[in-house]
Subunit: 242 residues, 6 copies
Amino acid sequence: MARPDGRSADQLRPVTLTRHWSIHPEGSVLVEFGNTRVLCTASVTEGVPRWRKGSGLGWVTAEYSMLPRATNTRGDRESIKGKVGGRTHEISRLIGRSLRACIDLKALGENSVVLDCDVLQADGGTRTAAITGAYVALHDAVGWLAERKSLAGKVEKVMHRSIQAVSVGIIEGEPRLDLMYLEDVAAEVDMNVVATGDGDFVEVQGTGENGVFRRDQMDALLDLALAGCADLSAAQQKALAA
Amino acid sequence: MARPDGRSADQLRPVTLTRHWSIHPEGSVLVEFGNTRVLCTASVTEGVPRWRKGSGLGWVTAEYSMLPRATNTRGDRESIKGKVGGRTHEISRLIGRSLRACIDLKALGENSVVLDCDVLQADGGTRTAAITGAYVALHDAVGWLAERKSLAGKVEKVMHRSIQAVSVGIIEGEPRLDLMYLEDVAAEVDMNVVATGDGDFVEVQGTGENGVFRRDQMDALLDLALAGCADLSAAQQKALAA
Amino acid sequence: MARPDGRSADQLRPVTLTRHWSIHPEGSVLVEFGNTRVLCTASVTEGVPRWRKGSGLGWVTAEYSMLPRATNTRGDRESIKGKVGGRTHEISRLIGRSLRACIDLKALGENSVVLDCDVLQADGGTRTAAITGAYVALHDAVGWLAERKSLAGKVEKVMHRSIQAVSVGIIEGEPRLDLMYLEDVAAEVDMNVVATGDGDFVEVQGTGENGVFRRDQMDALLDLALAGCADLSAAQQKALAA
Amino acid sequence: MARPDGRSADQLRPVTLTRHWSIHPEGSVLVEFGNTRVLCTASVTEGVPRWRKGSGLGWVTAEYSMLPRATNTRGDRESIKGKVGGRTHEISRLIGRSLRACIDLKALGENSVVLDCDVLQADGGTRTAAITGAYVALHDAVGWLAERKSLAGKVEKVMHRSIQAVSVGIIEGEPRLDLMYLEDVAAEVDMNVVATGDGDFVEVQGTGENGVFRRDQMDALLDLALAGCADLSAAQQKALAA
Amino acid sequence: MARPDGRSADQLRPVTLTRHWSIHPEGSVLVEFGNTRVLCTASVTEGVPRWRKGSGLGWVTAEYSMLPRATNTRGDRESIKGKVGGRTHEISRLIGRSLRACIDLKALGENSVVLDCDVLQADGGTRTAAITGAYVALHDAVGWLAERKSLAGKVEKVMHRSIQAVSVGIIEGEPRLDLMYLEDVAAEVDMNVVATGDGDFVEVQGTGENGVFRRDQMDALLDLALAGCADLSAAQQKALAA
Amino acid sequence: MARPDGRSADQLRPVTLTRHWSIHPEGSVLVEFGNTRVLCTASVTEGVPRWRKGSGLGWVTAEYSMLPRATNTRGDRESIKGKVGGRTHEISRLIGRSLRACIDLKALGENSVVLDCDVLQADGGTRTAAITGAYVALHDAVGWLAERKSLAGKVEKVMHRSIQAVSVGIIEGEPRLDLMYLEDVAAEVDMNVVATGDGDFVEVQGTGENGVFRRDQMDALLDLALAGCADLSAAQQKALAA
């Protein structure tokens, strides 16, 4: 089975990272992985939550959400249902953990950053696009703090690693990189990998959606993901240099 | 006091209506009134809610929301607070009522349309931009139904009127059209007017935010609003003709 | 079509304002517009919400609710549904804004007043009756503060305007004052007007429930409403003088 | 310690039962035990909840609530808190159980009655006043069904017992009937008794609020309560005969 | 009708009280009344809720809950329903009140204890088993405080009474002690009695589930309950002495 | 650093699987991994949720929860907070997905099984213990269906794989199996692995809690986990054979 958009198995979709998409946030990036389109904003506030006051450490957290018609069929709003669903919780927590791995909270000082990742259009890989874009938005927010002399350390020290994320999966036995929605629903195995620009892992979440997977398949997927993350890292560096 | 962006008192901000902004919805319009940016999507489903079944009538409803960092200061998500706020409720209901005024629900047949108006960036006038954009999204959704031969009547019959909305207000005694945020917070009187392309009223909501207003001020505001709505109507026709 | 209760088009229903209906609140008024019956209580607390402390300003807020069987068909309790509905929110906000327009918050000093408007029986015009009655309850509560020497200013200074509200509408083309329920559901246009004893507007909310309305109809409705508010103002003065 | 209102220990407060207080409900009674004032309405609907359909049995349920300023200090609304409190739950369940004890659900046929007991003013004994008033409201609602030939049995068969309730307690060692608020908070033992017109028990709930109580005290309280209920039964019969 | 497990009418089921069932809590008791199995844990925290600070008094509260499959048919979790049901509220409040009756809150000093009673398996009498077990868990928690020299008074002074609870009921006219589930659903009258080791009452809650009950039946049930509580008191003393 | 309980790095804690711990559920297993103690019950209902009716397929779902004092410090109940937390959601979803991987839903036929995993005592690894125990409870529930001739296929066909789960992590650079709580909080990398009795993966979730991890560390952890799962599989077989 060829890929729906004709890519090779180890090829990313076109990636764009548009900085300063919004006027209000301290960092704001529209990230696109093909048709997947996520608005990532970084909101800075001075100070930290009460339980962290006086620690000298900053705080980074994330919230993920999807517009009701980001998908092919309209989903009900969680605000109207009156509760946040399990999937939303799970992804918000993943994004927050991942971004905290790239930032030195001591060098950030007692500042807080909330990363809002709102999916405007979904075509698979929304959480990985969100992490990849949120890294750039966070970088801009840290730069904004630096300009105001509000950082405990230098920008390079605060953002001591870069972070990227990509999905991989096995479709009809073939390991593939960066699944689009049609592939996602057909995958036997689905894995999200968060990695650093240096090729280390931050988080690996793999699931046998319709079955189980062997150790050698696991290895193939990890290889594919690390290669994809290296490409995403290059795209981030290019966007930040612009 | 001159207007912050140098407009004359009876001048709209630049208005853009970008159709087909998203790939999934049956109608999707990114509407911009200056820096205010609202994504309006129209989602069609066959059939109507249970209480309306067998009536031969369609149904149109609307939901308004704001991204957390659409504004200068981040607001908490209503999904996380677990309830929809009074302001959100109020605006959603206003948009729904307004759009039902421009559509012949009998000619629509037993189809339902949900209009989602998500504010991506706010600078005053988000509800009036939402109504103006949602009209175009609804028009596209009705066109989509027509193409599929799923309409009881013709598009022109279903969309038997056009609808626009604009804010007006009094700042330091001067009536002004289409307030931006800085003007909104300074206004003595704030009014939202929904009108038809024929110059009739659909809804008028005026409030003396910091005081009261005289009958002659009321008249001046209504004149200004009807003129502004005529300009918005022209912009809508142009977008739909494109 | 004659009016169901034989009134002329510009006539109010019988209005009664019973002060001191309850023993506990600082102000309590049972207001009746015909069969519509609303208990308005004003509860005073020393101090203001945290965000207002040290400002020297007082605070006034309102909550509107309906008993489940105030209407012809029993409605579910919002406490049991676990959330406040959009209509309730909207009316509570309207009452709060309106009452804040008649009171000098600086002269009130750092005191808070909550106005609870509970509809015991509904027959149209519950929100306008609530505003009209709440004004009298608020006046009594301010008088109570004056007696305890807890006001920053004199009662007349604190209550620097009187406030009334009435509904108007168009039924079969005829503009009418103070709609009862049967008229309300039949109205082509429905408008609520909050005005001052001096004949200025505080709030105007007009809706074309089943269509649109012309500029001249708007004018006729505003005239009718201001005349009705003048009568309500007289009733309030009489009650307060008793 | 004499009673605050000079009553003897075994004397009820003045009791009034005003039928037809509201125009909409099938039964509506304003019950007063001294300053305690509860509006009891009975709402009839044809049919029963789904789990009971086809059983031939009717259904009776109750909801108790207090207006925010029914008490000396304003309480927050449960609709705004978003949940019903434990005390409200407990009392609603008690009222429902008690009223189901006086009605023959088979003779009622597949009809449902909701009893809403809203406390307009509280001065102790709100739950017992509510039960006593709700009995009369339910009787009127059953009469209404009889007039419409919608009852499976006769009114006397459906309402096969009368139900009353009263509070008793021990203050400074003295057993007293029908406690007002000041006595309620001072009581060592507090007991609510629901009884039938024939002097049998439906429900007994006694609590040693500030301690424990002996068997002989228990006996004295039960005697006092049964005598009070007999007086309440007479008041109900008189109201129903009017 | 013989009892399902062959007991005589005035006989308890086998009672076991296993102390130190869990490693984390300051007191933890697995209590069994026949097949009814409740885990009672006592959690101590230094300090008291804000409204009680500086009073010199401690605080004891309780929470009751049932595992979803503690019963014959699975019940939905209250966490997922998003609200605590009326029955749960009622029982939690009963347990809290009962336990506060056995403890001298002044001698406890400004310490708080939460008693969690989680029903692992239900066969009637869960609330009475919970109270009986919670007393022992609370005793152990108070002992733990004594060992840490954190008590204002001695253990015997703090725990100045013992508390037990048992259910009684009338089945086919016969008064019976300690109902199991099959008896509970068949009972004409159902009563829960909380008593002290000295034979005084703390709480009595009797309901005519399927009818009403006479004064002499009431007396018989109270006798049966006090005898049962004396046996439970002996079991508690034995467990605490072990 | 030696392990707190003296185990070698590749050694499980003592594992016990007690079947038939409760009398009501169709399957019930108390699973213990050292001090971690989870009650897993399987509740069978005939039929499937509405969206699955007529598919011929069964349904398996899971709910995880923790008693408030299962941990060293008492946690608030989610029922009282009114919402299920992100962590609970995440684990419930993981358990459900994992168990669906071991069962042939077609052979199960249109039956539903809910797996409740309630943590009675926590000392690390609660989710992996829950999965391991829930497999046995599910097996018993399927056996129960077989005895009642309610299965579409044979037990061996329905339960076509066995499933186990274990945690692994890196502490001070050393990969370790089956972390207890003290190790869990100290781990640089924390991974949960769900595997089959045949040594394939069902789910892998690894997180660099305090940093990142290299590819070779990943490999070491996967080896350790598969070896641990093989031991757990043996323990399950032994329990099921008893």
